[in-house]
């Protein structure tokens, strides 16, 4: 690779009919913080570039700039009103490899520009698939579900990438990804093959980012930025994929209108069926909604069909792979406190955890830690709630 072939961070913005998804601003915020530091360290002037596709969306450009974007590349076209994978992938590919656009973003870097240095997508229904096809098209690497990013100059020795010799990779994006257990962090790198026997560039270095992880920058109405319009080239064949109908649906599990949420995790394992029934009883005493941790949605326990289809479902998952909640009272039953779960409930006002293990990470995230097996504690809790309700009624 020649220094200068790859420049800037491109962020694929998501919105619904012009209403921005929060994660779009979160990605821009993180890119802003990252590049401010990057430009200082490397005395460069690379830019935060938002890529915006849709129809009747020109107003959003300003919002993106106020939240940290230096440039917005905007394709406003009725064919792009809703996301269709093929035309979106091709349009993003065209934008990412367009030198004329690069010239408008930063003239000094345009002559050599081939592709973005980094690219961010949202790890959600849209971005997950779009990132996969865009990077297949660009033939570069992609890490998914990232919750921490670091840029560094790394010394790498790799049989394949460097032919077994130590080599330095400058400005490399370390992409941290929590695994399914929530206890391990895997750092993924996307590296050019510098091995002389099989040289090949892999850029942009790309990832999908978990919604709700990064902070949004406070909007600054005085921030300046440029908006670049791009007219996409469509293949007629691709337009034969048509969206015929769209229906808005509400999730069956409503967390927002409940003041209390009772969640459970693998701690129910000794007698899953009875324990879930007990939690159901506790929730009903408190008029609470019931949540679960991610591993429970993988149906690790054999329970009755009714319990399974009511409780062990993805719609109830609280955490980075599910819903983010902030009730008045949150009761975590048999939950150890994997980071993925914590980030979905840490904004709750009053948190009670029931767990036999005092070393469980949940202890540091709750207001009251009731040490004990749920089988012993929950019945007492239910009894006390009933008693205190009676007092009030009397």
């Amino acid at each position: 690779m020649t220094e200068g072939d790859y420049r800037h961070v491109y962020i694929i913005v998501e919105h619904e009919e012009g209403k921005l998804l929060q994660v779009s601003l979160e990605m821009i915020g993180e890119a802003r913080r990252m590049l401010d530091d990057f430009n200082k360290r490397y005395s460069s002037k690379e830019k935060v570039v938002a890529v915006l596709l849709g129809y009747n969306i020109k107003d959003i450009s300003r919002v993106l700039i106020q939240h940290g974007a230096d440039a917005v590349i905007c394709s406003d076209n009725p064919e792009l009103r809703y996301v269709r994978n093929t035309i979106y992938t091709k349009t993003i590919f065209q934008i990412a490899t367009d030198r004329e656009i690069a010239a408008k973003i930063e003239p000094e870097y345009a002559i050599q520009f081939k592709r973005p240095r980094y690219m961010f997508f949202a790890a959600d229904s849209i971005g997950r698939h779009l990132s996969s096809t865009v990077l297949a098209h660009l033939e570069s690497g992609l890490a998914s579900d990232i919750n921490k990013l670091v840029v560094g100059d790394l010394q790498i020795t790799h049989q394949n990438k460097t032919g077994g010799k130590p080599m330095t990779y400058e400005k490399t994006l370390e992409m941290y990804r929590p695994d399914f257990s929530g206890f391990l962090w895997t750092t993924i790198l996307c590296l050019d093959n510098k091995n002389p026997a099989m040289q090949k560039d892999y850029h942009p270095q790309s990832c999908s980012i978990i919604p709700g992880v990064f902070d949004i920058i406070k909007p600054d109405p005085s921030r300046n930025g440029i908006t670049i319009e791009y007219v996409p080239k469509f293949d007629a064949q691709d337009l034969r994929v048509r969206i015929i109908d769209r229906k808005i649906i509400k999730s069956e599990i409503d967390f927002d209108s409940h003041k209390t949420i009772v969640s459970f995790g693998r701690g129910i394992k000794d007698s899953p069926e009875q324990n879930i029934k007990m939690i159901e009883e506790l929730a009903s005493e408190l008029d609470a909604q019931v949540g679960i941790t991610l591993p429970l949605s993988k149906k690790p326990f054999s329970v009755s069909q009714a319990v399974d289809s009511t409780y062990l479902i993805p719609d109830r998952v609280i955490g980075t792979s599910g819903r983010k909640v902030s009730p008045k009272v949150y009761i975590a039953v048999g939950i150890s406190g994997a980071m993925q779960h914590i980030s979905g409930m840490r904004d709750s006002e009053f948190i009670v955890a029931i767990n036999p293990d005092e070393d469980a990470p949940i202890k540091d995230e709750c207001d009251v830690f009731i040490k004990g097996r749920m089988e012993d504690v929950v019945p007492i809790l239910i009894e006390e709630i009933r008693k205190q309700k009676q007092v009030v009624q009397a």
């Binding site: 619904e16 998804l21 997950r128 096809t133 048509r242 109908d245 769209r246 229906k247 008045k328 709750c366």
Partner: protein, 292 residues
């Protein structure tokens, strides 16, 4: 009218069910002690293909990239779907592949299958890797229209088109069920909530018939199985395995315990007196909301 031709890509994964899954003391998965099975999302993709067989008599080919032991998982897939052909792509050179290099193998394998595919199915994502990238990347390499999060589909064999319903979750806004029409061929990543419906009598009869056939076939599954290496599927060695993988795993670490965000009061779970006090506290928290 040509018969409908479908393929399914499946993955062998750790069995996360209690009693089979084994965790290390630090909470991470103990891979050596955990059994491997047909991944639950892959199983849903197999079910979706079976639906095409019942409705349209589709021919089903199921493939996977994996070690030789993955053949028992293909046998299981055949039992579920009465698959006509099974393919195991197995070669030491495939090892260490990231999603892009895996997609290259699957693409090469699918192109080598008998006849052109009308639909290729994949699961939503694997339970262990969880990237959900291999499906769409295989679709792109095959040049097929990619349709993800599909909860329902109907083929029109005459016009060679398909109608699907997709569940799109727009976090923080709402969920949308989107109906899409597309010309075949298409690649479908099936949503976890997909459930095939067999309404008519003839469909239920077909279901019985194919299930019976599936039981017979799967007893003799090796007759339907082809084990192919990189050369046999004509995969480009530069694009597969470690050589074809843009990404590497740089390090794996335990996620450091963050600073305690709250100072918990610790209570003995058998102390009813204390629990009474906590319940009162909870009730107080709840009632302040009402006053506001």
């Amino acid at each position: 009218m040509d018969p409908v031709n479908v393929a399914v890509i499946v993955k062998m994964e750790p069995d996360f069910s209690e009693g089979n899954v084994s965790y290390n003391p630090d909470g991470t998965l103990n891979r050596a002690e955990t059994k491997n099975i047909l991944g639950p999302h892959s199983a849903i993709a197999v079910n979706a293909a079976f639906y095409a067989k019942i409705k349209h008599g589709a021919k089903i080919s199921i493939c996977t990239m994996g070690p030789p032991v993955a053949e028992s998982m293909l046998q299981h897939s055949q039992l579920m779907s009465d698959a006509d052909e099974l393919y195991l792509y197995s070669d030491r050179i495939f090892a260490g592949a990231d999603t892009l290099a895996t997609a290259e193998v699957l693409k090469s394998g699918i192109l080598k299958m008998q006849g052109k595919m009308d639909i290729v199915f994949s699961g939503h994502r694997a339970s262990d890797g969880e990237t959900g990238q291999t499906g769409p990347q295989t679709a792109w390499k095959l040049g097929m229209t990619f349709l993800g999060n599909v909860i329902d589909y109907e083929i029109d064999p005459e016009s060679r088109t398909i109608r699907v319903k997709r569940l799109v979750r727009l976090q923080g806004i709402y969920d949308v069920v989107e109906e899409v029409e597309a010309p075949l061929p298409v690649f479908i990543a099936i949503d976890p909530s997909y459930k095939p419906k067999f309404n008519t009598v003839s469909q239920r009869l077909a279901y019985e018939k194919y299930q019976k056939e599936a039981r017979q076939r799967s007893q003799d599954f090796k007759q339907y199985l082809k084990v192919l290496n990189a050369a046999q599927i004509e995969a480009d060695p530069k694009l597969i395995g470690i050589s074809g993988s843009p990404t590497i795993v740089y390090k794996v670490e335990r996620i450091p315990k963050g600073k305690a965000t709250r100072q918990a009061e610790i209570i003995d779970g058998s102390d009813q007196e204390q629990i009474r006090r906590i319940v009162a506290k909870m009730r107080q928290s709840l009632s302040t909301m009402v006053i506001k």
